[in-house]
């Protein structure tokens, strides 16, 4: 893999876009308090901050989804009123989200040109496909413009979003956690695309929780905390420690490192597990009190193995034993009955019921414990149970009856963890538990995993964050293209060796 240089280019001249003293409140919550931000042509500007720092709100102000209570946005020095997303886009402001906002049923070229297909009432398919193909080639991606968007990978859909922005002659490109669902290779390609856009004079605002990426790609870094602007500095003048200090306003002890201890008996034993087209011949044991990491690139089959263990999709062959007993798991319900729980990576789709309350979400899997006489739910018992988890996991919510959908990503993740902890599982599978959540929430989750293991739970930790896997795990199983590349322990627990196994370099 060739290293690409992203040398810092000091901003010159007047900014393309300026955010000037913008404030925005929701009820009594001050999401933004008079923040300012300048974006210059050709710069990659990172915006970092914990969840709730006001990043999402600022993005929504800049893309025309929210209107500020005070202050304004200026383009080329002139105040503009971004009343709708359409207006923001027509002025050249585009945004790419963590979960690509595509039309799943439409073709790639339609996705790119929807809303600005050109003059006239007719759609010129061939012309449109050709222009789309041209843009995609500039992005170095091999995607058929006629393919249906739902058939693309997340990285592919994101490339389509970037192509969409390019087709609109974008001047300001906002990227909100764009790398969260990408493999290392796809991140490299994305960064090359961003660099090229910046070279052509686009101002890029890059929002990410992955600090290493922020350092790699940024010319300047701005930190928000609690809706306030804390600092804006050239990337070269910022260190990881100073950045984290700005973000959280307190010193964070280095990356949370779990203290391993002597594991107990084997809780879960898997032998020769296979499912055609997904994974083959996976064998491992997890002991009580042990954390077994699952490393590998996105799409290597780790989630599929977890889904087989949890009964979401059945394996074709192989055996699964808990406490020595062979299991036939064909539904999540059966998995739960045997003490296996799975915290899904896709919390919005699989993990949580967003319109329902925090309490209802937490108690859902074990709801039968809260049924009182007359088959009614004992609301008070439900509340008390939920309250315990709110304290233990420090879930920040105004009340337990708040709908989960309005919480921040990190807090949603904590609700989801509480939900599965309430089942008191003996085997707990975490799938990307810290993806897209802030540093503070991440540390809380790491601490919780450590506590659980200490309490005798067998933990499987699937994560694409290699330092996280290494810091948390006793042993690490590496997968590549559905195959088990080995289980690493002790002295072999080394970033380079694991990455080499994951990409298949001997």
């Amino acid at each position: 893999m060739s290293e690409t240089e992203f040398g810092p280019a000091p901003p010159t001249g007047a900014p393309i876009l300026s955010v000037i003293d913008v404030s925005k409140s929701f009820g009594s919550t001050h999401a933004l308090r008079g923040v300012a931000l300048d974006l210059h042509a050709g710069e990659v500007h990172s915006l970092v901050g914990e969840n709730g720092a006001g990043k999402s709100t600022l993005i929504k102000v800049m893309t025309g989804l929210y209107r500020p209570d005070a202050g304004h946005v200026a383009l080329d020095g002139h105040a503009v009123e971004l009343r709708t997303p359409a207006i923001a886009q027509s002025l050249g402001i585009a945004c790419i989200y963590q979960e690509p906002l595509v039309f799943p049923d439409l073709s790639v070229s339609e996705n790119i040109f929807m809303g600005h297909t050109g003059r006239g009432r007719l759609v010129h398919w061939r012309d449109m496909d050709e222009r789309a193909g041209e843009i995609l080639r500039q992005l170095e991606v091999d995607i058929d413009p006629r393919a249906v968007a739902s058939q693309l990978t997340v990285a592919g859909q994101q490339a389509v979003e970037i192509a969409k922005a390019m087709s609109r002659d974008v001047r300001v490109l906002i990227m909100d956690e764009p790398t969260a669902a990408l493999s290392a290779h796809e991140v490299r390609r994305l960064f090359r695309q961003v660099a090229r856009l910046a070279e052509s004079g686009v101002a890029v605002l890059f929002v990410s929780h992955r600090l290493d990426e922020v350092f790699e790609i940024s010319d300047r870094i701005t930190v928000f905390r609690d809706g306030q602007h804390i600092s804006t500095k050239p990337a070269a003048e910022v260190t990881e420690v100073s950045l984290i200090r700005d973000m959280v306003g307190r010193e964070l002890s280095d990356f949370f490192r779990r203290v391993p201890h002597e594991p107990g008996e084997v809780a879960l034993s898997v032998e020769g597990l296979s499912r055609a087209g997904a994974f083959e011949n996976i064998s491992f044991d997890v002991r009580r009190g042990e954390v077994l990491g699952f490393a590998g690139l996105v799409g290597s089959g780790r989630t599929e193995v977890a889904e087989a263990l949890f009964g979401v999709r059945r394996a074709d062959s192989g055996t699964i034993r808990t406490d020595g007993e062979v299991l036939q798991i064909s539904s999540p319900r059966e998995a739960m009955e045997h003490g296996i729980a799975y915290v899904s990576e896709d919390r919005r789709r699989l993990g949580l019921s967003l319109p329902q309350s925090v309490a209802a979400n937490i108690t859902l899997p074990g709801l039968r414990r809260f049924v009182s006489r007359w088959w009614l739910i004992d609301r008070n018992a439900e509340r008390r149970a939920a309250e315990v988890y709110r304290e233990r996991l420090q879930i920040r919510t105004t009340s337990l009856s708040t709908p989960v959908g309005v919480l921040s990503g990190g807090n949603q993740q904590k609700v989801m963890l509480a939900k599965w902890l309430d089942l008191k599982p003996s085997v707990l599978i975490f799938d990307e538990p810290t993806r897209g959540i802030d540093v503070g929430a991440k540390a809380d989750v790491h601490e919780l995993i450590g506590e659980l293991a200490e309490g005798g739970v067998a933990v499987i930790l699937i994560s694409s964050d290699l330092p996280e896997v290494l810091a948390m795990s006793d042993r690490v199983l590496v997968m590549r293209e559905g195959r088990q590349m080995g289980i690493f322990a002790d002295a072999d627990l080394d970033q380079e060796r694991i990455m080499m196994a994951a990409v298949g370099v001997e």
Binding site: M1, T63, T84, P85, A86, Q89, S90, L101, V102, F103, P104, D105, L106, E110, M114, G115, H116, T117, G120, R121, L122, V123, W125, G133, L136, R137, E140, D142, I143, D144, P145, R146, A147, V148, S150, Q151, L152, T153, A155, G156, S183, H185, E186, R189, G277, L297, G299, E481, V503, G504
Partner: protein, 355 residues
Amino acid sequence: MIAEQDLPAAPSRSRRSLLEPERVKGLTLVAVVLATVFIFSVVVDDYLSARFVSRLLIAISITALVAAGETLVIITRNIDLSVGSMVGVAAYLTAEMLAENQGLSAPIAVLVAVGIGTALGLVNGVLVAVARLPSIIATLGTLSIYRSLLTNHAGGKTISTGSLPAWLIDLPRSTLFRLGRYDVRTMFAVTLGIAVVLHLALQYTRGGRHLYALGSNPEAARQAGLNERRIQITAFAGCGALAGLAGFLYVGRFGTINVTAGSGLELAAIAAAVVGGVSTLGGSGTIMGAFLGAVLIGVLDQSLVRVEQISEFWRDAILGALIFIAVFLDVTVGRRLKERARRRAIDEAREVEHG
């Protein structure tokens, strides 16, 4: 790892294989229709008589028009339950006007029927797009409101064949051309023509693609600057217009019109659309699919009467079962095809990743 700069200059692989879900759906439906006709022709003596085919084509015309309108709405991730009532109101009011003014010409009568349907459809559209009522609730309301208004207006009066102009009574027998021993009825030909034009319009006009975009991902559609309200209102108004036209054909087909005209058509229309592969989740499906769905339902409905062993009470149950089967196949087979395509995309991505 291969160098990415070495990628082919043009995307060479065509992913539009024969197994493309839309195409599979269409071909399957044609096969099912042909198989159904074949089975009946074996079971029933003189099944494909000229008279039967003519009656069948007229029956299909009305369902197909309403189903085409319903499709416009379903593609935008909404539903219109009031189509049967709109057909009834348009049919009755048009017939009433013709009974009172025998001299009115056919184009005026068609315009009146379509105009009435469009107006009623606009009301639905405004309720959904502006008042923000869920379409299932809004149109469930107008289903009964339109029917009640009609009942009040008519006061139980029936308009009979005798009071209608002769050209209208002859309309079902009007033939465009003959195909062997079969008459191709004007009503059917016009319906087919409208379906083809509408089908193409949905594929090749911006307005048509906007319907799909909104139904496929409303949030993305808003972000792309599409006018959500206008798209929704257009879909409902279009649905009303087609229901109005179907109302006109209804007058011609039955001659005798009372206040229950068209009731129950919503079931047939939604069934035709769903059987024809229009996804109730919005964003996918075609007018020709809905047309084929209407053909299948029409064939079954008209043919089962002629099988003596099957009581007519079973006909509705068979229709219901057909909806289940269609959706079941759509969900299972469709998902499998999509899964295959997705896996292929992942494999290709991996090839690039690892060379």
